[in-house]
């Protein structure tokens, strides 16, 4: 058995370090890409924290409706996908709805933001959709997996 030259060993170690660093770099790149998609997303997520306590405490009356998620998915496709992406992954017009800020928000908070919009950041008010339809949308949003995109 012959010993490998030191230069090859160093090359292997460097390659391993580079490969180990790829996911981190990839994540950074993804984050930068997401930020480039919709630079104002922090403002939009921050808006969630402005929901009044009374609004955040509201429960989704359609929580146990078996059709609510499917109906919400249809409504999402009709009204929201244009800005938030087909899989709610975010576009340059609207932020990702898989983010923890959205997924951890209470149903009442999501309902409140749908009703009021974030007008200065381009999100229209959606109170023109009747309340039950907004709750159906909330059901769908809460069904999204925060780790990745889901199909609808």
């Amino acid at each position: 058995m012959t010993a490998r030259p030191a230069s090859i060993r160093i090359l292997h170690i460097a390659l391993l370090v580079a490969l180990a660093g790829c996911p981190v770099l990839g994540q950074k790149e993804k984050k930068e890409k997401e930020d480039a998609y919709f630079p104002g997303k922090k403002d939009v997520y921050a808006e969630l924290s402005k929901a009044p306590r009374k609004a955040t405490a509201r429960r989704n009356p359609l929580e146990r409706d078996p059709e609510a998620v499917a109906a919400g998915a249809k409504l999402f496709d009709l009204h929201c996908a244009e800005c938030h992406g087909d899989m709610a992954e975010g576009t340059h017009k609207g932020p990702s709805l898989h983010a923890s800020e959205v997924q951890q928000a209470t149903p009442g908070t999501l309902f409140w933001i749908l009703t009021n919009g974030v007008v200065r950041r381009g999100m229209p008010v959606w109170s023109k959709l009747p309340e039950p339809q907004r709750w159906q949308l909330v059901s769908y949003l809460k069904s999204l997996d925060s780790a990745g995109a889901t199909s609808h």
């Binding site: 499917a70 009021n116 919009g117 200065r120 381009g122 229209p124 008010v125 023109k128 009747p130 339809q133």
Partner: protein, 316 residues
């Protein structure tokens, strides 16, 4: 296009022929425009209200363009019935500002067909969030002739007799109007209630401010959405009623010598991206047309702003 005043009859006839040609070409151009739009931007489906005269507080979604065509068929005592029509191009500049261009025309039966002018309308949302009542400021500049019959709003002492004047005479009157409205609207339990107060100033000839109103109420036939895509689902249909009329002018404010209408309205939001509207209107006093039949068809295109931006090298 305007000809010498020495040959008014010949001029009118020539102009009518030319305008007929423009109208025919206009229809072709409209189809081309729709094809062009369809090629570059995606259709968007939205929940459109059924009103034809009244405005609620909802603006166009940012970056979207809505192309609309409307018709008004009106019966006319002491004159010829008419068919007036207009095209609207409504663009959501931001979530708080919608801007819109109108192009009006009319055909008076046994008379002629005319292009009657254009309007530029802007609506500004005054409050960022939803409130008990939501105000929107409406500002419009219009340059129309006296032959304009679209009756998009009724104001001042507008009465049926004004529309009986033959086109050749009516078209000689040129109006440059500044129109403002305060739109108040509220949606609760599925019902939308909207009230518009109108104040109009004709900038030519020292005319006084004229006033008018429009009120409307509407509701979808179902509040919950069904899980499947469907054309005939009840949530796709919105029905309601609107009432509109004049309130006199600065010197003679009130209901004296004004016309008023009551009109059931209905809209059908199709999953194929089109919205159809229908509204039979009935005059409420002797100064009003007895019957107005209005209908409209519209289609919304998303990403129009982005498509235009891309044409000029903007971000994809």
């Amino acid at each position: 296009m305007r000809l010498s005043c020495n040959w008014p009859e010949l001029g009118s006839r020539l102009e009518t022929n030319m305008l007929d040609s423009v109208m025919k070409n206009g229809k072709f151009a409209f189809r081309l425009l729709l094809l062009g739009l369809a090629a570059f931007v995606a259709p968007a489906r939205s929940q459109e209200n059924p009103y034809i005269v009244t405005y609620d507080h909802y603006l166009e979604e940012p970056g979207n363009l809505e192309v609309e065509y409307f018709s008004t068929f009106g019966t006319q005592r002491g004159g010829n019935d008419f068919h007036a029509y207009w095209m609207e191009f409504e663009y959501g500049a931001t979530a708080w500002w919608t801007t819109e261009a109108y192009f009006d025309g009319q055909t008076t039966f046994n008379d002629s067909t005319l292009f009657t002018g254009f309007r530029w309308e802007n609506r500004f949302r005054l409050l960022q969030r939803e409130h008990f009542i939501n105000p929107v400021l409406y500002l419009e500049y219009e340059q129309t002739s006296g032959a304009d019959k679209i009756l998009k709003e009724v104001e001042g002492h507008d009465v049926e007799a004004d529309y009986a004047i033959p086109n050749a005479i009516a078209r000689k009157e040129h109006d440059h109007e500044l129109e403002s409205k305060l739109l108040l609207s509220k949606t609760f339990s599925g019902w939308n209630i909207a009230e518009n107060t109108i104040a109009t100033k004709n900038l030519t000839g020292g005319n006084p401010w004229e006033f008018g109103y429009a009120i409307g109420a509407s509701r979808p036939l179902a509040l919950k959405a069904s899980a499947k895509r469907c054309s005939f689902c009840p949530e796709n249909f919105i029905a309601g009623i609107e009432m509109y009329g004049g309130l006199g002018d600065r010197y003679t404010f009130g209901l004296h010598d004004t016309s008023h209408y009551l009109a059931p309205v209905a809209a059908w939001n199709l999953p194929s991206d089109w919205t159809l509207r229908l509204s039979p209107g009935f005059g409420l006093n002797d100064n009003s047309h007895r019957f107005l039949l209005r209908w409209g068809v519209s289609r919304e295109f998303s990403g129009f702003g982005s498509a235009v931006s891309r044409l000029f090298g903007g971000r994809r």
